[in-house]
Symmetry: C2
């Protein structure tokens, strides 16, 4: 390795050491379970500080390239695959079992802008406790009883009525499956629908965990941009005709991360396209009720008459997230297969969680709570926007949801900013992770829903300052 | 179709109609979503009673071959795969997404001998309610908070201490992952370890859902008999050398369904074999505490020094089954991968469930409860054995667990007996479902843990009578 030259912004020293080691692994100089040189030895070899080597080793460990054993050193991890293959500008595929979003969110941070979750302090915790106690009085044996695979009948009946009243969805309780959160729902659907080499249409940007799940099934991803005006339906049709995707994974209402909402007129048209090209629409809708001024348009599911839409309605974000209750609505015979997949996954969501959810969900308290929550979220959003106003960065104010999707000037390296922020205990999500094409390197997702008002202001100021230090 | 001849025991009439329809599907006379002839029409065509056609259609629907729409008739289900390929006497593979055990257990029955679960009335439900309320006092924001992916630290610390004290397992909290039940644990492990065409060693008979999960990953199953004396270690070594299995899925303590327990001397030897042939041992241990007289031998995990055993310790059966809490113990770097797989599956088990479990698990009440439960289960077992004594059927009395594994005389068709029993609301599990080779047609699994004492006696008498009606 050439004598390392420090270039803090584009190629920090520890990154160079990192790549040095990766290259040697790829060339076969080290194999799975081989012991890497000690930190001291490598530092002498490449003439850098031991701390720099340590940083590189730490990053390698976080990336799963090496592991530590018995405090005795670093060893090469087996099974490391090379970078994704790019077959086509529009298609990317990867077989790495990774979850970079989860890795980021796992790091504790004082100014927590990386988790699109709601601050527990904004949830009515004391009232939830009351409902739990009520559940035990109503169902004394709930802890000793398993739910059916499909989910508690009383809960499905209640949800079916709710969907009819609120969204005019014609839905029987038999067309609902209760899952342990939306992520499980995505997993079950992917398992049934996707085989190796199948194509999935995804928004660009999108929820990265969904991409990781699809890739793990061996599927190829075809991206379609989402904009404040929705999608380019002609482009969607062209992609459907060309790639014959099995499904289109979408989050068209208060989209994560952009906050955009696909307009009504596109909803019916897209359902018709799905039917014509036999492409399932998997509609993930966790942020529907987190609107600021007015309710969003009805779900795509409301426009579907032939069974091409699978509707994932997750209440986790604001109704006792800790319970992890989600409902998947779809028609038969797909529901038969989904139930079998659920039986193999865990044979049924815990009954206790379903009953607690049911009783809280039907309480008048929830509606009051939702009203307050919407106001609180709007306040949070406005604080973040005020702090951003001073920067000159670009973003579109969302009509709902938990995030701002912000474009930074090209001269600022988001990668460097991310690390600077990490040092100051500020976390956010670099846009690159949410882009199927792995680009969008100037965008970042900032969640305003988790930090409190003080942390929002302070964190944003520190973020601004860090970014400022990277500008000329 | 030749005029149907009734042969009640070996080839009942509705079965002939069933196969008639299946053959036409396989020959392509009907395709996915085609409407089948009406019951009346088919009955006239093949000259059988309409009820017989109805039975056949009903069985086809239960088997996923047809579905019902709008009460307007029966339609061919898409995606029906043909029967499993048998490549080798020892290896079976299948790509059907099925769960026959779950299908059986889903049918309500008055005399419920098919669910290896504990009667909720035997669980201390009132005390559990108290603990739940205590949890809310201790952790007021528990409903609004997500767990970490790996699981609540307090819970993992407690379990780590428990494993040290009870099984002398050297285990840090970092080497434990909390999952939402043992089935999820099996899924995560299978996803990481198995790729298409990989081989899995399984016991014969075994837990059928695990087989379904492995097959779904495209793996091939190689069976090894489990006997009252344990395994044939020489045969295991030969199979490991020949097939190079990636893992051996085992349930060696109060095995389900047989009740056998692998003796101590085989445990260390098998761990050594696993290390030599680089075959992971996945030890599923849900029935450890359900012993009658004396504690079983330590887990295989206790004999493992090199990280070849993955230990699944599920408490669900007797500690608040409704919570679905399970702990997976394994060494790094495998644990890193397991955590990533968990993050993709559902990003963490609900915190509420973990905290409730933790507080109940550490209570003196649980130990008292366990003592009573063991006695109750032994009473149940003895009732069932008394009723069986009159039959002359064969079984080995287990030292623990929830089931009897019983061999019927060859002249009795278990398939026919199953249907006769279903008509009388008696459910059990035909051994065929639990056999990787799909044989063992004379065995049945009878669970004594779910029905109450009265139902046990009555149900067993009816079962005996039904079997008697099938004998000459």
């Amino acid at each position: 390795m050439k004598k390392a030259v420090e270039d803090q912004q584009t190629h920090p020293l520890f990154r160079q050491v990192y790549e040095y080691i990766i290259n040697r692994m790829e060339r076969g100089e080290w194999n799975a379970h081989d012991k890497l040189p000690s930190i001291r030895l490598l530092a002498e070899e490449v003439k850098v500080h031991r701390l720099t080597v340590f940083k590189a080793y730490k990053q390698l460990k976080e990336d799963g390239k090496v592991y530590v054993r018995d405090k005795s050193g670093y060893y090469v991890s087996p099974g490391n695959m090379l970078s994704p293959d790019f077959e086509d500008n529009a298609i990317v595929s990867s077989y790495l079992l990774t979850n970079p979003l989860s890795d980021i969110q796992r790091v504790p941070a004082k100014y927590q802008f990386s988790q699109a979750l709601i601050d527990p302090n904004l949830l009515p915790n004391l009232y939830l406790s009351d409902y739990v106690k009520k559940v035990f009085d109503l169902y004394p044996k709930v802890m000793g009883t398993y739910s059916t695979v499909q989910g508690d009948e009383e809960l499905r009946e209640t949800l079916s009525r709710h969907f009819k009243e609120h969204h005019r969805l014609q839905l029987s309780p038999e067309e609902l499956l209760i899952t342990s959160g939306a992520q499980q729902a995505i997993n079950l659907i992917a398992k049934i629908v996707l085989g190796p080499m199948d194509t999935v249409l995804v928004e660009r940007p999108t929820y990265s965990v969904a991409m990781d799940i699809f890739r793990r099934e061996g599927a190829r991803l075809v991206p379609i941009e989402i904009t404040p005006e929705g999608y380019d339906l002609e482009e969607i049709e062209a992609l459907m005709a060309k790639h014959k995707p099995r499904m289109f994974y979408m989050n068209p209402t208060h989209h994560n991360p952009t906050g955009y909402t696909v307009p009504v007129r596109q909803r019916k048209l897209l359902v018709e396209l799905a039917e014509r090209y036999r492409c399932l629409l998997v509609e993930d809708d966790p942020f529907r009720d987190m609107y600021f001024d007015e309710e969003p348009p009805p779900p795509f599911f409301a426009y579907d008459t032939e069974g091409w839409v699978i509707y994932i309605s997750s209440f986790s974000k604001y109704v006792a997230p800790g319970l992890r209750i989600c409902a998947v609505a779809c028609r038969y015979p797909f529901m038969d297969r989904l139930i079998t997949a659920k039986s193999l996954a865990d044979n049924g969501t815990p009954l206790l969680n379903q009953k607690i959810f049911l009783h809280y969900y039907t309480s008048p308290r929830l509606q009051q709570h939702l009203v307050k929550l919407r106001i609180a979220l709007q306040v949070h959003k406005e604080i973040m926007e005020e702090e951003l106003a001073a920067t000159g960065w670009e973003w579109k104010a969302p009509q709902g949801g938990l995030n701002l999707w912000v474009k930074l000037p090209e001269e600022i390296s988001v990668e460097v900013l991310f690390r600077l922020c990490a040092q100051q205990s500020i976390a956010f999500v670099p846009g690159e992770i949410l882009d199927p094409l792995g680009e969008m390197k100037s965008w970042i997702r900032l969640s305003y829903s988790f930090a409190n008002e003080g942390q929002l202001r302070e964190g944003m100021r520190l973020l601004r300052a860090a970014a400022g230090s990277l500008q000329s």
